[in-house]
Symmetry: C2
Subunit: 147 residues, 2 copies
């Protein structure tokens, strides 16, 4: 197996993934929030509860900017900040009911598009896809967090 050929396939693949996710997530963002705000909410949705520092780190945003965006999101009643009882400097952030509803709506639309994409796949193909997802996630797109 030539690793250089593999790299080209890899580049083509991630290009395709980005392209398709762009298409699939197109129009799911309500006009009331900005792109980064949507991204933050998406992150909170799959990682909650999460601290501000963690969001800052994972979204590659500075603390001040993260704090600002989170304030705006809070003002729109889409998330809640709960001060940690152990360490009162920390704030655990989670979606509010309204935020959950918004993100559920968004994910539902993405799900529909996903289902449409795999509508013609046979049972064997679905198994194949499932296996492929696992292979790539464990062998290529694994995260090597030190902690």
């Amino acid at each position: 197996m030539d690793k250089n050929t593999m790299f080209h396939k890899f580049v083509d693949f991630i290009t395709a993934v980005h392209q398709i996710t762009n298409e699939m997530t197109k129009d799911v963002r309500p006009e009331t929030i900005t792109h980064v705000q949507y991204k933050i909410l998406e992150y909170i949705a799959v990682s909650q509860p999460v601290t501000l520092s963690k969001i800052s780190e994972c979204m590659h945003m500075s603390m001040p900017n993260t704090s600002r965006e989170l304030r705006k999101i809070s003002e729109k009643q889409l998330c809640e900040k709960i001060t940690d009882t152990e360490d009162r400097r920390k704030q655990f952030i989670r979606l509010s009911e309204k935020g959950e509803a918004m993100m559920n709506e968004a994910f539902k639309r993405i799900e529909t598009r996903f289902m449409h994409r795999i509508r013609n796949a046979s049972e064997e193909e679905l198994e194949e896809i499932d296996r492929a997802l696992e292979v790539l996630q464990t062998k290529v797109f694994y995260s090597n967090k030190l902690l």
Copy 2:
């Protein structure tokens, strides 16, 4: 195969892909260009020669904004515009030598990181990965361009 479970795996997967590509492409962008300019150059690199309209369409940017960014990229001598001899309204855009050099450098760094990621994979695992890339690209992340 439960399609709902599959959707969750799909979401986890694209999250991982975005996360890892973010990490891998971190710091490869020279400070002399902005993020969108880099993205445009990346697109030109894999699609050249390409027209302005095509870039505009694929990057989901308006023509005026695409034109502006492309002008800036040209001014930095990173790409060249060649007027089509058939249809003199059209311009074919390709990387300049300097642009090629910059993008080669960027891709080389990404390649190194990719190689590092798969350094422990056995020959069989590489075959597996290769197969998985193909399965997903053809069965999930295919593009359904009408033309």
